[in-house]
């Protein structure tokens, strides 16, 4: 359990706080929606309801992460956000195809949703057109992925934030700044086993001490890519959910935990871990635990 010397930035994204010293704010949990096939809106509504209920119970903020695979899904998913998500509640959009990213930004602007949007993500594959679109339609926050194909260590992740490992004209943090992103969350890029998977966890305290920015990752991706776990069927879900404790334990601020349907496992596990951490950091470092923290919820 850590306390950072560097002053930590605390982001306020449409009412949800992310960042700070370990034990200060609860870990923010991003649950993925509409990963596969045609978006199933009724199913999504139920998942969202459940995730927000778990968030109210534990104190860990929930942010739905909407995966938009096709251009034809944009309107449908944005309609869903407007009609189902509580007003002002932030959400993230997870899109891999640059042209769909740009189109979605235009739609978000038209619907006045950019102030609630977390852009997932800016990485070294960012295109010129995407940069222009981000400048024109700037979301409230962006996740900046520190994936460096040359060097998967924490040093390599810092390199890509600083200078894009010379693969682009400037570093990813400078690009985020250039397009006007005020709130940056660093994703330490969890890679498959055999690709220095542990570096994504080790990089969290390094990046927080270096920049004071909120950091986290999608550590569940490592579990997903652990093919050997298929031999332990009944344990796979437990491993997947509990992998997320590595993030707050190493001082991280948020976890992108995979499908929202896993929320029922992830929220209690992370709330439990947050309590453990905050007890120590408050007692030893004097870190003040905020009101909405699980420790305040369960131990008045």
């Amino acid at each position: 359990m850590f306390s950072f010397t560097k002053k930590q930035k605390i982001l306020d994204i449409s009412g949800i706080h992310i960042g700070g010293q370990p034990g200060e704010y609860p870990t923010v949990l991003f649950g993925g929606m509409f990963f596969k096939g045609e978006p199933k809106l009724d199913e999504g509504k139920e998942q969202l309801k459940k995730m927000l209920m778990l968030s109210r119970l534990t104190g860990n903020p929930a942010i739905p992460d909407f995966f938009i695979r096709k251009e034809s899904y944009i309107e449908k998913i944005l309609d869903f956000i407007e009609s189902t998500l509580p007003k002002k509640h932030p959400f993230s959009i997870d899109i891999t195809v640059p042209s769909i990213k740009i189109k979605t930004l235009e739609h978000l602007h038209r619907r006045s949703l950019l102030s609630r949007t977390i852009y997932n993500s800016i990485h070294i594959g960012v295109t010129e057109e995407e940069r222009k679109a981000l400048k024109k339609y700037t979301p409230a926050a962006a996740i900046v992925v520190a994936f460096n194909p040359k060097d998967k260590s924490p040093d390599g992740k810092i390199e890509v934030l600083e200078n894009s490992a010379h693969l682009l004209d400037k570093g990813l943090l400078a690009i985020a700044d250039e397009v006007g992103i005020k709130n940056v969350l660093v994703d330490t890029a969890a890679l498959a086993p055999g690709e220095n998977s542990g570096a994504s966890v080790a990089a969290i305290p390094v990046i927080k001490e270096e920049y004071g920015l909120p950091a986290g990752c999608a550590i569940h991706n490592v579990v997903e890519k652990s093919a050997w776990l298929k031999n332990f069927d009944s344990a796979a879900k437990v491993v997947d959910a509990s992998s997320n404790i590595n993030i707050p334990l190493f001082g991280g601020d948020y976890a992108i935990f995979g499908p929202a349907e896993n929320a029922e496992f992830v929220f209690p596990i992370i709330a439990w871990e947050d309590i453990l951490i905050s007890e120590y950091t408050e007692n030893y470092f004097g870190t003040k635990t905020r009101e909405n923290h699980p420790r305040r919820k369960f131990f008045k």
Binding site: R69, G125, F147, K150, K152, S153, D155, G156, A192, P205
Partner: protein, 190 residues
């Protein structure tokens, strides 16, 4: 998994070492016949693709690389692999004309990529849905029985040079211990 014939490891199934064809699967449940050399999925247009290149050139018997299934949106590892074979990489190690999001070859020597381009012929069956058609192409390649490319090429993984210049940067977890920049814990004052 790692295999002595395929030292870079990955998620693949080894079949017949002497076979002339390997199969790359993209989001498909298709299972190739057991007389191919090796088959397995690819998900990323950088690390995953590098493993395929390195593993393929370590078995000189492989002269065909068949790619089938539906390419993965955004990342497009299948189409990126086709582009790598067709155009190679530029001086920034970016795959020329690659459609994928982050199409870089950073952990392989240029010589290994060139060897890959020379050793195998790509059979681009991306989007083909009929398994019988894919099976027929596999059978046809095996029937041709091309000669081995020669000696195996064992690609060395390029490791990043680390810059651990900071040696006196210490953080406390507890007053009795210090943690240095490398993550080593020792007693304070030791």
């Amino acid at each position: 998994m790692k295999n002595s014939f395929y030292p870079w490891g990955g998620e693949f199934t080894v079949c017949s070492f002497n076979s002339c064809i390997a199969v790359v699967l993209l989001q498909t449940n298709y299972t190739p016949p057991r007389d191919v050399a090796v088959f397995g999925p690819v998900k990323t247009e950088n690390i995953g693709m590098e493993k395929i290149v390195a593993n393929v050139i370590s078995n000189p018997n492989i002269r065909y690389l068949l790619i089938c299934g539906d390419d993965i949106r955004g990342h497009l590892p299948g189409s990126t692999l086709v582009a790598l074979h067709k155009y190679g990489t530029d001086k920034e190690n970016r795959v020329i004309n690659a459609p994928g999001a982050i199409p870089y070859i950073e952990n392989l020597e240029a010589e290994a990529v060139e060897r890959f381009r020379k050793q195998v012929e790509i059979l681009d069956l991306i989007g083909v849905r009929k398994n019988e058609k894919i099976d027929a192409v596999v059978r046809d390649c095996i029937k041709k029985s091309p000669p081995s490319f020669g000696s195996p090429y064992i690609a060395i993984k390029i490791m990043a040079k680390h810059r651990w210049a900071v040696t006196d940067d210490k953080r406390a977890l507890h007053s009795k211990i210090v943690i240095d920049y490398m993550g080593k814990i020792k007693g304070r004052g030791c």
